[in-house]
């Protein structure tokens, strides 16, 4: 029997290829994601191993939790003498660090997307330098000299001897570039730019006079790093910790990987979508195969194969296809991982070109997913196959082993209701059933809705196709009529094919609605809540600019007020929350916070403002104290001094005063402003006030000046970028659906060989045959697009409504974008029809009608 199975597969290579392709793409997506994240993990652990190589112990301020590149706060430099006095210490040097933005020759800031702009003093002792080594020039000495990383130098044609500008917390100045630094084999630290100074200069530049960020310690020969760590730990005061360099490397690598963990989740979700779409295609393929092989299967039954053997045969075929395509898919995963890496590199992330080796986990998850999906999708067709009676080998029996249509409709309605209920409960309530949270509930619910619509759409194939064909009947009466009748003939098959396309387009439509609603909301917020004339802010994620910028503006006669905003993460009972440090003294003039209770003067004096929805949900009121855990200063009870209603400009549900922020957030990056809202003096013409702001910002070229309209455009463009990424990922799902239509049509053409031959014999020309197939393809695709758009609008509106608690208050449906999906559907139909239409038109008439 296995032999029958294997030979059957090999005899139909195109069928195998198309079916396998759909599985392959899904598996490649999933395994590629794992390979990619493994690559990232390895890169980071290599990176920090490098950064700390040669050192034994690091002494630094104790922190509550690790926040990636944002290092611990500084401490007094007298601690260095304490450490040097510990027996077993061979050498120890202090290090001072902070953000340092290097400018290129045109005076533009070099700001990588994601990775930080590091500045630090360079140790004098070679061992304490870590993997950093001078590739060219010499070490910087004295104020005004700098060494930078080799990658930044290479990419911007900077060389030893050049004068370059660098921005730190103390402003922008010119420096003499005296050295180029490499880090072991790599040219930079995971994409970060790096500027190195001598210790004294660094302390000055980073406003750390008399203080240090960390102390690097080298052990005497024969003394283990753990031993030394324990000795130092006893010597240093409370609030200071000693850790081994290897522990610190592992900690930092882990923190960074976690920060990028969301990428893995997003990619896996899209991988799962691809696999889900593929399952429709596999199911359809097997349904058609079983039908086509009805006589062959019946012959096997009549010479003694049992029903179970037939089921096993179909399942075995599915398993073989699953194994082959999973294996190839895992191989393609490397290509996919490289593709993600390449895209990330375009975005400014610095990642190695070589991928991580294949992990067992990748093979298992990727392979099992591919095989399981193929086999599960083949189960119903296999059961159907087993019900073919042996007589079917002798006569043409119509094996309509139909589960009654009513049962299917009932099942469809019940699952539609259940799926919708699960989606809505996931969106609007707090679900907590074992490992199932809101997000997973929405995913499961959506899957059920898709399956239900697929089942139910079988019933509406006939009326919908009859409707869709109406305009075509005028255009091309004969071919269009035949095409519509062909697609109605096997409604379940047509419905499944269309469903595959439905899933991808539904999700695109969902994102369209969601994106447009967010745009409308931010647009409204800028209109209603932004009193400032300009927003000065950094692009992309992370980073900031020197507070000197706002100081300069404050000194200007044309400017009435500036409000600085900084971001920070803190811990609320174990979950990470974002807060904004805001200049409470001036915010009234620049941002309408919609204060419901409390006063801004209390915020300036300390305490926290909470957004009204968050306060409502948690039952907090003015006067309630909440536990806020800060990385630097640890757990504190902070009193709520106000409730506010604005959320879209400040983008956080928690506000603290800037002084409070500075007390509790110290260390890398927290000394820079992320956004400054600027209000001009009334009556000053826009050109003039703008010129003032631009002039102040000119030195800080990572700071962008935008007026209200530009701010709005900028926000919209950011949403468009995210939408673009999601749609690009969903394009794969649409591509798989396209293969599905091609596959189904090819098999249908094969099945109707005789019929097409007959049409040709009675005078239909090749062009008409091609058109007939093309119309069928377009109608099936349009059907899928219509279903997808309907579901997508529903999902989009539901999700947007659910997001109202996060401040998304407007619901907006972008009609043009949504209608464009219908055009996408028609194009998919056209492309999918190419191969089957050619095959059909090239049939040899005589062979076709005598075909058995």
């Amino acid at each position: 029997m296995i032999r029958v199975t294997l030979k059957g597969i090999l005899a139909h290579k195109l069928r195998l290829a198309l079916t396998a392709l759909s599985v392959m793409i899904g598996v490649a997506f999933i395994s590629g994601t794992f390979i990619f994240t493994d690559t990232i993990d390895r890169t980071f652990s290599d990176l920090f191993d490098n950064a700390f190589s040669g050192q034994d112990v690091i002494v630094q301020s104790e922190t509550e939790f690790n926040v990636g590149f944002q290092g611990p706060p500084p401490f007094d430099q007298s601690l260095l003498d304490t450490v040097l006095a510990v027996p077993g210490v061979a050498a120890a040097e202090g290090r001072a660090g902070g953000f340092a933005i290097i400018y290129n020759k045109d005076g533009d800031a070099i700001v990588p997307m994601g990775p930080p702009t590091l500045g630090s003093s360079l140790s004098i002792d070679d061992h304490l330098l870590g993997a950093a080594e001078l590739r060219a020039g010499r070490a910087p000495k004295g104020l005004g000299e700098v060494a930078i990383d080799a990658r930044t130098a290479k990419d911007n044609q900077l060389d030893v001897g050049d004068q370059i500008q660098i921005q730190t917390v103390t402003g922008v100045s010119y420096y003499q570039l005296v050295g180029i630094i490499g880090f072991g084999a790599t040219d930079n630290l995971a994409g970060a730019t790096f500027a190195g100074f001598d210790l004294e200069s660094a302390q000055k530049l980073f406003a750390l006079e008399g203080r240090l960020s960390s102390i690097q310690v080298l052990a005497e020969e024969g003394i283990g790093s753990r031993t030394l760590r324990d000795r130092i730990a006893l010597a240093v005061p409370e609030g200071i910790e000693a850790v081994t360099a290897s522990d610190e490397a592992a900690d930092q690598a882990e923190a960074l990987s976690e920060n990028l963990g969301f990428i893995q989740i997003v990619l896996l979700v899209f991988g799962a979508i691809s696999v889900f779409v593929a399952s429709f295609i596999i199911q359809n393929t097997f349904r058609i195969i079983v039908r086509q092989r009805q006589r062959e299967l019946a012959l096997l039954r009549s010479i003694g194969a049992t029903g179970i053997q037939v089921v096993l045969m179909v399942i075995a075929e599915a398993t073989v296809i699953g194994i082959i395509s999973s294996a190839i898919g895992i191989g393609l995963g490397f290509g996919f991982a490289s593709l993600i890496t390449f895209v990330m590199t375009l975005g400014g992330f610095e990642l190695p070109a070589t991928t991580a080796p294949l992990a067992m986990r990748t093979v298992l998850i990727g392979g099992l997913t591919g095989i399981a999906v193929t086999v599960l999708s083949a189960i119903f067709p296999a059961l159907r196959a087993s019900r073919i009676p042996p007589v079917a080998a002798l006569r043409d029996v119509d094996v309509r082993l139909k589960r009654s249509e009513r049962a299917r409709t009932m099942l469809g309605v019940i699952s539609l209701v259940a799926g919708t209920a699960i989606v809505l409960s996931g969106l609007f309530t707090n679900v907590e059933v074992g490992p199932i949270n809101e997000l997973i509930a929405v995913g499961i619910g959506a899957t059920i809705v898709f399956l239900a619509v697929s089942l139910l759409s079988t019933n509406i194939v006939k009326p919908l196709i009859s409707l869709l064909v109406l305009p075509l009947l005028r255009l091309d009466p004969v071919a269009a009529r035949l095409a519509s009748q062909n697609s109605i003939r096997q409604p379940r098959r047509t419905a499944t094919t269309a469903s595959a396309l439905m899933v991808g387009l539904a999700l695109v439509a969902t994102f369209f609605v969601l994106g447009d609603s967010i745009k409308a909301t931010t647009g409204r917020a800028i209109e209603q809540s932004l009193r400032a004339d300009y927003l000065v802010s950094v692009d992309g994620f992370g980073g900031g600019f020197s507070p000197l910028l706002s100081e300069e503006l404050d000194a200007s006669d044309e400017i009435a007020a500036t409000t600085s905003l900084r971001f920070g993460f803190w811990d609320l009972d174990g979950s990470e929350e974002l807060l904004v440090g805001i200049e409470a003294e001036t915010v009234e003039a620049t941002i309408f916070l919609d204060v419901k209770h409390g006063s801004l003067s209390d915020l300036a004096a300390g305490g926290v403002f909470v957004h009204e929805k968050t306060a409502d949900r948690s039952g907090w009121k003015v006067g309630t104290s909440i536990p806020m855990g800060f990385s630097t200063t640890g757990l504190q009870q902070v009193e709520i001094v106000g409730i506010y209603g604005e959320q879209n400009i400040v983008q956080s549900a928690f506000l603290v005063g800037l002084d409070f922020y500075k007390e509790n957030f110290q260390g890398f990056g927290t000394d820079a402003d992320v956004t400054v809202a600027v209000k001009a003096v009334d009556g000053v013409p826009a050109e003039k006030s703008r010129a003032v702001v631009e002039k102040a910002a000119i030195n800080y070229s990572n700071a962008r000046v935008r007026d209200q309209a530009e701010s709005r455009e900028y926000q919209e463009s950011r949403i468009d970028i995210v939408l673009g990424i999601f749609n690009a990922l969903l394009a794969l799902a649409v591509l798989i659906a396209l293969f599905g239509i091609t596959n189904t049509l090819s098999l249908s053409v094969f099945e109707r060989t005789r019929e097409i031959g007959l049409l040709r014999a009675v005078g239909m020309n090749r062009r008409k045959v091609r058109r007939m197939i093309r119309w069928e393809s377009i109608m099936v695709a349009a059907l899928g697009a219509l279903l997808g758009i309907s579901i997508g609008i529903f999902f989009g509106v539901a999700i947007t409504a659910a997001l109202s608690r996060f401040g998304i208050t407007a619901i907006s449906i972008p009609l043009t974008q949504i209608l464009s999906l219908l055009i996408v559907g028609v194009i998919v139909g056209l492309i999918a029809a190419v191969i089957p239409a050619r095959r059909a038109s090239r049939l040899n008439v005589l062979e076709a009608i005598s075909y058995e």
Binding site: M1, G304, P389
Partner: protein, 244 residues
């Protein structure tokens, strides 16, 4: 109880297709028995019910009422699984068309029933069958590389190789030219004479029927006559009578 001499037997077999107005009585109370070690032909005009008789006796289709035995087993009492096992062990088939799995070689097709039963083929017997059908050098060809006559001989070999109680053949020579048809019938004849095989064949070809030990004539779902040791002239005469 069926006598020892019958390999298969039908008692008062009735088969009705359709319902009410479209009712067709394909078999109208037919009782027949096929003798062990004999070659029986069933003849009759189109729609006489000869194929239905064959399918029902072979256990491929169910009777509306009546009983069928193969050997000592009554088919009505069997479930689908037991029926399948019975077909596998005790019945062989040769059909008019679509007899072979196109993706398997001739040899693989011949031993297919044995592979399905997960048994080892009796090699000596296999050699003997293959020798008899004269396809020794075509064993590794696919059906598409064989002529129609060769394909039918492969099908016949497949039916023979599991040593069934009885072989049912449905118009085995219907699609063959007269020379290939004659060769196939020679082979079936030898299977009966040399190996003692029981064969029941439906045909409307009088020269094919004349090679049988006995002919049964069917018309309108009823058994209308039998002819032992037929010659081709006898058959033609008889058919002429029915024609009138």
């Amino acid at each position: 109880m069926p006598g020892d001499s019958s390999a298969a037997r039908m008692q008062s077999g009735i088969k009705v297709y359709g319902q009410n107005h479209t009712e067709v009585w394909a078999l109208d109370s037919v009782s027949v028995q096929f003798e062990r070690g004999k070659f029986t032909a069933i003849m009759g005009p189109s729609g006489s019910g000869k194929s239905t008789l064959l399918h029902c006796t072979a256990g491929l289709d169910n009777l509306t009422s009546g009983q069928v035995w193969i050997g000592k087993t009554e088919l009505g009492s069997l479930n689908d699984k037991d029926l399948t096992l019975l077909r596998r062990e005790q019945v062989g088939f040769i059909f008019q068309t679509f007899n072979l799995i196109p993706t398997l070689t001739a040899k693989e097709n011949i031993i297919l029933p044995i592979s399905i039963a997960r048994k080892n083929p009796d090699l000596e017997w296999f050699e003997k069958v293959v020798e008899t059908i004269g396809l020794k050098d075509r064993l590794h060809h696919r059906p598409s590389e064989l002529s129609g006559g060769q394909q039918q001989r492969v099908a016949a070999a497949r039916a023979l190789v599991s040593k069934p109680q009885i072989i049912f053949a449905d118009e085995p020579s219907g699609n063959l030219d007269s020379h290939s048809g004659a060769e196939l019938l020679d082979f079936l004849r030898r299977a009966v004479d040399e190996f003692g095989q029981t064969i029941v064949m439906v045909t409307h070809d009088s020269s094919a029927a004349s090679r049988a030990d006995k002919i049964m004539f069917l018309d309108d779902g009823r058994l209308v006559g039998e002819m032992p040791d037929p010659t081709i002239e006898d058959v033609l005469d008889r058919l002429k009578q029915y024609g009138n």
